[in-house]
Symmetry: C2
Subunit: 387 residues, 2 copies
């Protein structure tokens, strides 16, 4: 039972892009000031930062202290949380518990990642560290090739046409084209997706999220104090993490990610809602196959019917749930350790009615779904508009 209810009072983000002229600290600072400037003088007690690759790609650990210093907020508590691509979601759970426990009153949860301007560093190898170094990477697996196994299996078991995955990418780019923060804000069509280059058969370029640089931030405080800082805010009514075996060979089933099912069920239960109650969701579509399986695991789609639901418009406004109005990882981009915080910022923006051309009308309850590894570390949160 949660002892103190928690609100999101602000959010900020940078465009996901190739930010070759901005450092880790300046990217984070930009998103953080964006969030701080939206609220009335919040006295921030702690910063929790989601990040995966700074050690590999920027030779920097200890980035909690880095960003506290950048914002002139030392000596507040500041540290990093890491669960591969699920780092942002884990940071959100950490910030939630720091506020809910009464340890701190106002906590900034952020994520930052710089992936693109590293000459001579192996980004694919760095991202592969989300998988099992001893039992997967050692044998030559990459993150894309592991997901390719899932996609082959899905198409074999469910007889799903290859085109459905391409068409999901088309939908994501249609959404992302309206997002000023998106890395790839343009539309594509089925032919472009189907004919893009192979990454790991059957995964092609347009089945994959791009790599990008970016930072996102939200600010949390207790629900009862939220109106001190702002006139409009949302409440985190459900939140959970979950894990699974890191190497996929140890699993019973490749077509359901146990950690998503567990985290989602826990979050729904805590929030006292069902998948039907969710108006808008930002889900973790690293690859189009990840989206298909996740939509089923989250309860938005019948097992193996991803294509049918897609073509019925289930994932668009007016359907079952509006999926990834931001464009998702596919089009908004995937600044790895920041992605979970982007999702939380985007859902907050939707629930506050501030999403501009991306706005889903009358969105009252939203969900974030953030995943590390091939479903080995999953974080789900559910937010509700308060006023």
């Amino acid at each position: 039972m949660i002892l103190r209810r928690v609100a999101v009072i602000s959010y900020g983000m940078t465009k996901v892009d190739k930010h070759w002229n901005k450092s880790l600290r300046s990217l984070f600072g930009e998103a953080a000031l964006n969030a701080i400037n939206k609220v009335k003088n919040p006295k921030i007690d702690a910063i929790i930062v989601g990040n995966m690759c700074a050690s590999d790609l920027s030779d920097q650990n200890n980035i909690g202290a880095i960003v506290a210093d950048e914002l002139g907020l030392t000596p507040i508590t500041a540290y990093r949380v890491e669960a591969a691509c699920g780092s942002g979601g884990a940071a959100l759970l950490t910030g939630f518990s720091l506020v809910s426990s009464g340890v701190y009153d106002v906590v900034m949860v952020g994520g930052v990642e710089k992936l693109t301007d590293n000459i001579g560093k192996m980004i694919s190898f760095s991202l592969g560290k989300a998988a099992d170094a001893e039992y997967e990477l050692f044998y030559g697996a990459t993150f894309a090739s592991l997901n390719a196994l899932l996609m082959n299996r899905y198409m074999y078991v469910y007889k799903t046409p290859r085109e459905a995955f391409a068409d999901f990418a088309v939908l994501m780019h249609k959404n992302g084209a309206k997002n000023p923060y998106a890395q790839l804000p343009f539309e594509i069509n089925r032919e472009i997706a189907l004919n893009s280059e192979y990454i790991a058969d059957p995964i092609r370029l347009y089945d994959c999220a791009p790599i990008g640089d970016g930072a996102a931030v939200i600010i949390l405080c207790s629900l009862e104090e939220a109106s001190k800082y702002t006139d409009s805010f949302v409440e985190i009514i459900g939140i959970s993490g979950a894990s699974d075996t890191i190497n996929i060979a140890s699993r019973d089933d490749l077509l359901s990610l146990k950690a998503t099912v567990t985290a989602a069920n826990n979050a729904y239960k805590m929030a006292k809602v069902t998948p039907k109650d969710i108006d808008v969701a930002e889900i973790h579509d690293t690859f189009t196959i990840t989206a298909a399986i996740s939509l089923e695991d989250l309860g938005f789609c019948e097992r193996g019917k991803f294509d049918k639901f897609l073509y019925e418009g289930a994932f668009e406004p007016g359907g079952i749930v509006a999926i990834n109005p931001s464009g998702g990882l596919k089009s908004r981009g995937h600044p790895v350790g920041a992605t979970g915080v982007y999702q939380a910022a985007e859902i907050t923006m939707q629930l506050l009615g501030e999403a501009g051309k991306m706005q889903i009308p009358n969105a009252e309850i939203g969900l974030t779904h953030n995943m590390g590894g091939v479903g080995s570390s999953v974080y789900v949160s559910i937010m509700k508009r308060v006023k």
Copy 2:
């Protein structure tokens, strides 16, 4: 105000050593089973892991999922926390808030590090990532050379004899010689310390903590439920983190670490105790100079009088406070991201009267002090024997 009080109900650790025959996951598993076997069937809800270097030295991120899988505990929540050498302390704060908030009932807080068996990997470079990559490492600074600046300054300002630092190392090795988990469990004398090789003038080999492999674990639950699991436990009565500018050139004063002062004052206030009430402390003596400054910042010693207090026996049983009965980082060893959890395990062991030859008689209140970088990320906890 803390909403639910938190107890430590168990602890476990491996010897700090060159564990060339054990992987990250098996080291963690050994410490964790050690802790689990001490209590009656705890249903663990989450694992928080402190670790700094696995990404660099074992090509592995996402180690929350790795250790949950190793223990057969998936799909529980599991993730990593990083604040350089302060990672263990940050993991403890995270676990504390997860229990105190009611998000989870039983949380395992652990730390694991493997540093020694990496052929061709640059351990010094990896550890340097605790300092500022852009403003310190780029210019050739190492972690030892930054601390050497502090030591030179201390001796210049306070006219402290060089021998006092050597004699602190002698005391740490005297303590560590009684610790079955210590990496360097042997005594030394002043001559050995003074004549050991230079690392970064004036820091010599015996001023430095060794690098080592190891894992430590504690198990937390709410105070009111602790007796369900065990007959003897301790309470965490104070806890805080704090940060400072990561590059030391930006600081007003090199002879006091603001983050230690802040974290300690917050923890004392929360615990409603003063430094005089502490019976035993495990402090972060990465270098002998770090010990001197930290003892002053924690309120155990007058400013600049480190040598005087040392020679009066202030830091030994019967003195002001028994410092590092484990031998500290100097002799027990410093498995970086695990060190803060070793300290918490050791203080728990002391307060429960289970420390064998290391036992400080009648220890009732203990303190841990864990530091990342040159004082840029500091975590202090205060524990009290309950029964």
